[in-house]
């Protein structure tokens, strides 16, 4: 595994008597199978058999080839926290507009539980006009004038559904494949499976901006769960220090930092010799990566190096924390061999309670903050050819109801919609996907998915497929189960959207 004698020793130390006995028993089993069941022994490896992801613990992010030829090499995931209304942006429903103000039919309410809606709410049509755009004639609302110009590059999935109707579990489901805490995030799975090209940068970088509220589910959204902690997302900031606590304290030179690290490494090695916990080796590796990052990450995050015209196209302003800055940084990271770039922009929870959660104010502002930079990012990736092997995903954690929210049965100050797990819209773009298409459809009121439903696990399976993995084989043994991003239910690769 490694040339370094100490690490070799560490690896040997990690082999416990339990491992030896485990292998011994496995060997007995193998003897039995070989003699008693030659046919079974000759059978090809199970389609669920895990692939080998073992690496030198000192370099956990070493590149490993995908299972089969990949269509995408990296991912930029634009998560819109709080969940934007599909009915105001992408899912054009003229019938809903026709019934605007009418009581919601009983059909849709019976047996349903909503986060806030009680009694009989009123149906509500789109608050903004829709029109067709691009060569594809895709329906889009007037809130996304910049994305409209890139509409022939994206694939809109209008038939997403989830089984979670509260933010935190729904966000966890979208980002980790499970509504409960403790599972590995998308970015962790991808860096575990593929490693990362640039060893002087984290393989999985998280950039956060907010239009109001913050993350409901918090840091577990980019946690590594049961995977080794080397695969967790590293939160960076384009304002001030890109990575917190990465810079040397005032008065400490790089040489002095090196000396401190050498001493810390030695202590960690002693600890490792004493307890044999592989996480200690991971810790050594993290310190070393941070040392290398001091130079490279600062350069990558520094958008002041971009020409004024580029800053203007994104609407980026160096020194601020904004989605626009993050989009520009995302492009720079993609160019520098970072595997998984996760953006969050919070504040899409348009209930209609305070002004900023109104469809008529908050959603308008969120669109203004995100539309131009998202389109600029897509345009840049397209122009440089990077979009060919970059997978871009945009979406929230669920949809919003076709009904006006009536919290507590009351009429509210601002116009809003409640949480809606039964149907929502996301878009994907880039490597291996059909550009300029829409997939799936909701019923006439936009309530249920009527055609080609896509579950969250189907989206995940499709993403992994584009990255070169069968979702059944990218797995990790934990608590007696070969854990998968898609969970235990069978998932489906959405072949209709593959190019």
């Amino acid at each position: 595994m490694t040339d370094h004698p100490l690490l070799h020793h560490m690896n040997l130390q990690a082999e416990t008597r339990r491992h030896f006995l485990g292998w011994g028993m496995g060997g007995l089993g193998a003897f039995y199978l070989n003699s008693a069941l030659p046919a079974l022994a000759k059978a090809p490896a199970s389609e669920n058999a895990p692939l080998d992801f073992r690496r030198d613990p000192a370099t956990p992010l070493t590149v490993l080839p995908p299972q089969f030829k990949a269509r995408a090499k990296r991912v930029i995931y634009l998560h819109m926290g709080g969940s934007p209304s599909q009915l105001e942006l992408f899912d054009h429903k003229p019938e809903l507009t026709r019934f605007d103000g009418k009581d919601c039919p009983d059909v849709y309410l019976k047996g349903k539980r909503f986060a806030f809606i009680t009694g009989v709410p009123k149906l509500m049509g789109a608050q903004f006009p829709f029109h067709q755009a691009g060569k594809s004639g895709t329906w889009i609302s007037d809130r996304l004038p910049h994305l409209e110009r890139m509409v022939d590059e994206i694939c809109i999935v209008k038939s997403m559904r989830t089984d979670q109707f509260n933010h935190a579990p729904a966000q966890l489901l979208v980002q980790t494949g499970d509504p409960r805490l403790g599972h590995a995030s998308l970015g962790s799975w991808v860096t575990y499976g593929l490693g990362t090209e640039n060893q002087n940068m984290p393989g999985f970088i998280v950039l956060i901006s907010s239009g109001g509220t913050t993350a409901n589910a918090g840091k577990p959204l980019w946690g590594s769960g049961f995977l080794p902690s080397a695969y967790q997302g590293v939160q960076c900031s384009p304002a001030g220090e890109p990575v917190l606590y990465l810079d040397n304290p005032r008065g400490v030179s790089r040489q002095e930092r090196r000396a401190v690290l050498d001493a810390a490494d030695e202590i960690n090695r002693q600890t490792y010799r004493q307890f044999g916990n592989p996480e200690t080796v991971a810790r050594i590796a993290q310190y070393e990566m941070a040392f290398r990052m001091q130079l490279e990450a600062s350069e990558a995050m520094d958008i002041r190096r971009e020409p004024a015209a580029v800053l203007e196209r994104y609407g980026a302003q160096p020194g601020k924390t904004s989605y626009a800055n993050n989009c520009l940084v995302a492009r720079r990271l993609a160019e520098r061999g970072v595997r998984f770039i996760q953006l969050y922009h919070w504040g899409w929870d348009s209930h209609g309670t305070p002004t900023d959660e109104g469809l008529n104010v908050g959603l308008v502002n969120r669109c203004r903050e995100t539309d131009q930079p998202t389109a600029a990012l897509l345009a840049d990736l397209k122009a440089s050819g990077l979009l060919e092997d970059t997978l871009v995903v945009w979406g929230g954690e669920f949809g919003r109801t076709p009904m006006l929210e009536n919290r507590g049965g009351q009429q509210m100050k601002f116009v809003g919609r409640d949480h809606h797990p039964s149907a929502f819209t996301i878009w994907v773009a880039g490597g291996g996907l059909k550009a300029g298409t829409s997939h799936g459809a909701t019923d006439e009121l936009g309530y249920y998915v009527a055609k080609d439903p896509v579950e969250v696990r189907d989206l995940h399976a499709t993403m992994l497929y584009l990255l070169g993995f069968d979702y059944r084989r990218l797995n990790y043994p934990y608590q007696g189960l070969d854990q998968k991003l898609t969970g235990v239910k069978p998932a489906r690769i959405v072949s209709e959207i593959l190019a």
Binding site: L51, Q67, L109, G111, S384, Y448, L498
Partner: protein, 316 residues
């Protein structure tokens, strides 16, 4: 004692009463669920268990749908209303209220009527609050029943069926075959990997094709380093030399990469000479040459051949 004399049944009376009670039980069960007789006969092997053919409409379209959406409540572990939908035979046996399928008559088949009721209806399936079936799924059930609820009707013979989506075929991974294919060049690959760490890797676990990315080495990678790739040239399918110090001197090595599909040369000192040298690369389908001196004069012929060209806007 009195009990000793009066409570004894003679053997024939005993056996006859047991037989009568059993028959009565069967009768009651038959009344409650008409298919019970078939179930018993099938269980006893006295009647063949009907099975659907593998290429039938039932096996290809109906069964996956039932498995996905129905068997949680109507399957092996739970049988609400005595109904199981986890095999063709069980579907045809029906529920404790009788058959759920009337071949050729979807409108009077409960399997269809229940799933086509509005979700709020007390009898709707899946029950209210659960996600209803999609229109396409309801259509599949309707067509299957309308066409005779057949176990053998081929999947392609049903007119008007929603388009079937082809499942994605995952290429089989054969590590032994990959190792055999890699053997002839393994030593050369290892040598380059030692001298230029992180630059060369295999395209996938099952492949002997190579991918090259030298962009992270930046100006430390030049014509001399690119020349080291010459022994591997024919196996390279993707290459990224953006931001490196390569020049037109590397053109001939690039031209030897005959399997090349994607090539990135952004922000390098190459010129039209390199682009012209790429003409024989038959598999090339994408070229990035932004930030170079390359002009449309050389790119035009590649573009004509269908290669996607990414170049600076003023080049066009």
């Amino acid at each position: 004692m009195a009990g000793e004399t009066s409570a004894r049944l003679s053997a024939p009376v005993y056996f006859i009463s047991v037989a009568l009670l059993t028959l009565a039980g069967f009768g009651a069960a038959m009344l409650a669920r008409p298919a019970f007789g078939h179930a018993v006969l099938q269980w006893a092997g006295l009647e063949p268990v009907p099975r659907a053919l593998p290429a039938s409409f039932y096996a290809v379209r109906v069964e996956p749908l039932l498995k996905d959406r129905c068997i949680g409540c109507h399957g092996e572990s739970r049988q609400k209303a005595g109904l199981r939908l986890d095999s063709f035979a069980e579907v045809m046996l029906g529920s404790r209220h009788g058959a759920v399928v009337r071949p050729g008559d979807a409108r009077h088949s409960e399997l269809f009527t229940r799933i086509s009721l509005p979700p709020s209806d007390d009898k709707a399936m899946p029950p209210s609050g659960k996600t209803p079936l999609t229109d396409d799924e309801v259509t599949v059930i309707r067509l299957w029943i309308a066409n005779g609820a057949s176990a053998s009707l081929p999947a392609g013979a049903v007119k008007g069926a929603p388009k079937l989506v082809k499942p994605v075929v995952i290429p089989e991974l054969d590590p032994a075959r990959a190792a055999r294919q890699r053997a002839p060049l393994a030593a050369a690959v290892q040598q380059v990997q030692r001298r230029l760490p992180g630059v060369v890797g295999y395209e996938s676990r099952g492949s002997a094709e190579l991918e090259v990315d030298a962009s992270l080495m930046g100006l430390r990678f030049g014509d001399a380093e690119l020349a080291m790739l010459a022994p591997l040239a024919a196996h390279i399918v993707r290459a990224n030399f953006s931001d490196t110090a390569i020049t037109d001197a590397s053109a001939s090595t690039l031209a030897a990469m005959t399997g090349l599909e994607r090539l990135r040369l952004a922000d390098t000192r190459i010129s039209d000479n390199t682009i012209r040298a790429l003409a024989p690369l038959k598999k090339l389908r994408s070229l990035t040459a932004t930030g170079t001196k390359v002009t449309d004069e050389s790119l035009a012929s590649l573009r004509q051949k269908g290669v996607a060209i990414y170049a600076d806007p003023d080049v066009h």
